[in-house]
């Protein structure tokens, strides 16, 4: 079973020199987990989501969720007949209804026999208990998005579409809402398309990623691979870095450190109240990784891992990204061309990666 999205939409040439826009995307996505649709503003991310939802009536192509056809050459199910949940950037809660009435709006309109998600579960999951009786106009940005997410979930959708749900939030509200979105991944088996232009959101939440540029999907694949892929796209500049799934393997109580296991080794990080066996994600920025040929003694760096050079990817005239295998995992190191030459780096060379900092996502 999979999600097939084939979508073509032409926005004609505008009157005031607007060059027009064409979305032309053909995607095959896994049914489980969160797929980040990532790309710069104006690349067609939101339009793609609107096409999948049926909000763009002129879109041609095919939308198939498992066995259910929402759209093909002969069919165009109207939006309200597609079993989907949609969370808009600004929430779009109904101002004339209370929070509870907003939550009930979609619930009441979904088939009783396909309801798998119930009110109590959603209220508990998203911490909405105290908001239920309130109106929507004086909710904070984070609260609004939690209500909007709950409202969409309560339709028990086959596919959840999130259109930059955090873009209108400030940093701290964004951080506060992450755990709720993570529980979306762990508590539901629902497929999610998550549109974002923020790489840290994708890195933290997504399992899978689609990279969109100029209306076309230039690359797609599992998140960990996409972030370190030598193909054009994500692995460049200051944002370049790997994301590794890891688990808490043990603690160094004396120094308040936690040992994280990952496919290929262990990392030491500051213990921020982790619990044993907890699953976490770590992000290792390429700029925080340096290379030596021999394991350096007398270094303040905690994490030094044996690695093998997989590829050298030119990033800028001065800088090169080194793709490294650490066991079964891949990380990136950003070094200068000069250092690469001095170390004699080439594919297959064994090195030691010194990781200056590891970010727990």
């Amino acid at each position: 079973m999979s999600i097939k999205i084939k979508c073509r939409l032409d926005r004609g040439v505008g009157t005031n020199g607007d060059p027009g826009f064409r979305l032309d995307v053909d995607l095959d996505l896994p049914v489980a987990g969160i797929t980040a649709v990532f790309g710069p503003s104006g690349c067609g991310k939101s339009t793609l989501l609107r096409c999948v939802a049926g909000l763009e009536k002129k879109a041609r192509g095919m939308v198939k969720i498992g066995p259910r056809v929402w759209q093909d050459d002969h069919t165009f199910l109207p939006v309200h007949q597609r079993a989907l949940g949609f969370v808009f950037q600004d929430g779009l809660l109904f101002p004339h209804l209370s929070v509870l009435e907003n939550l009930e709006y979609g619930l009441k309109r979904s088939d009783a026999d396909r309801q798998t998600i119930v009110m109590d579960e959603v209220v508990e999951l998203l911490g909405l208990e105290k908001l239920l009786a309130r109106g929507t106009t004086d909710l904070s940005g984070g609260e609004r998005q939690r209500v909007a997410l709950g409202r969409a979930l309560l339709t028990s959708p086959d596919l959840l579409l999130l259109d930059e749900p955090l873009a209108a939030l400030d940093r701290s509200s964004r951080r506060a809402i992450y755990p709720y979105l993570e529980r979306l991944r762990t508590d539901f088996t629902l497929p999610v398309l998550y549109v974002t232009h923020a790489l840290d959101e994708a890195a933290r939440l997504a399992d899978h990623m689609v990279l969109l540029e100029g209306g076309q999907a230039v690359n797609s694949g599992p998140l960990t691979e996409m972030l370190t892929s030598p193909a054009p796209g994500l692995a460049h500049g200051d944002e370049a870095g790997a994301v590794l799934p890891a688990w808490v393997a043990g603690f160094d109580r004396e120094f308040h450190l936690a040992r994280l296991g990952f496919e290929g080794g262990e990392l030491l990080v500051a213990d921020t109240g982790l619990v044993p066996d907890q699953e976490v994600r770590v992000r290792i920025h390429a700029r925080d990784v340096s290379l030596t040929l021999e394991p350096a003694g007398g270094s303040s760096i905690l994490n030094i891992l044996p690695a093998r050079v997989l590829a050298l990817i030119p990033d800028s005239p001065a800088r090169v990204l080194v793709r490294l295998a650490v066991g079964d995992s891949v990380i990136l190191a950003a070094i200068t061309h000069r250092s690469a030459t001095a170390l004699g780096l080439e594919v297959g060379r064994d090195v030691h990666a010194q990781i200056k900092s590891v970010a727990l996502l």
Binding site: V79, H80, F88, L92, F94, P95, H96, E101, G106
Partner: protein, 226 residues
């Protein structure tokens, strides 16, 4: 206090205003919806047609309505052919005249309210499984509530004060087509300023109180839940 003929005129006026307002809301809402949502090129044409009564002298409107509704007009002939009588100089004729005359006062506030709401909340409702009809009644109309209240008030008050159209197509038949504004005209013509004062002052005070009431209603029951 009021003479019996004046009382009859008052009752007739209120009846006319009430019926016209109801008809206007029923007819005006779809027109307003269409004007607010359509992207067709004929939109400005329809918009201008609906707004015509704002600028036309009521007598012009009344004159053409008289021709249209009278025994020799298209609708008049149709009525006669169907075994009825022409609508000129009847209460029904007055309702038709009032509806056309007050149309912009009802359509414009509702249209503006629909436009202020925009497409986005309706799209949200659609993603939650609401059919077009469902989202019209559960999202578009409640969010345009102020527009409807303003429309009903303006439609009602405007019909109350109408003169020219009524005079042209309804004439001055006591108990049938003689409304307040015409009764006032008759009193002034007859130099009976006392009775003219009573009716005019009454209408003035009533209209003022009506508009004031709408203001407070709007404040008391805002569109949004707080």
């Amino acid at each position: 206090m009021l003479a019996p003929e004046d009382l009859t005129a008052l009752v007739l006026t209120l009846k006319l205003a009430t019926i016209s307002t109801l008809v206007l809301l029923v007819l005006g809402t779809p027109v307003a919806w269409w004007l607010a949502m359509t992207r067709r090129r004929v939109r400005p044409v329809v918009d201008a047609l609906v707004s015509l009564p704002l600028v036309l002298p009521p007598t012009v409107l009344g004159f053409y309505l008289l021709l249209f509704l009278g025994p020799d007009g298209p609708l008049g002939r149709l009525m006669i052919a169907a075994g009825g009588r022409p609508l000129a100089f009847t209460f029904t004729g007055l309702v038709i005249g009032s509806v056309i005359y007050s149309l912009p006062f009802v359509v414009q506030p509702i249209r503006d309210a629909f436009m202020a709401t925009g497409h986005a909340p309706l799209e949200a409702a659609a993603t939650l499984g609401a059919s077009p009809r469902d989202r019209f009644f559960t999202v578009a109309v409640p969010l345009a509530r102020r527009g409807f209240l303003t429309a009903a008030t303006l439609g009602f008050a405007h019909t109350l004060g109408e003169f020219g159209v009524v005079l042209m197509i309804g004439g001055n038949i006591p108990g049938r087509t003689q409304v307040l504004s015409i009764a006032i005209y008759n009193h002034v013509e007859a130099l009976d300023y006392g009775r003219a004062h009573l009716l005019s002052g009454g209408l003035l005070a009533f209209s003022f109180l009506l508009l004031l009431a709408v203001h407070f209603l709007n404040r008391r029951f805002p569109v949004v839940r707080v």
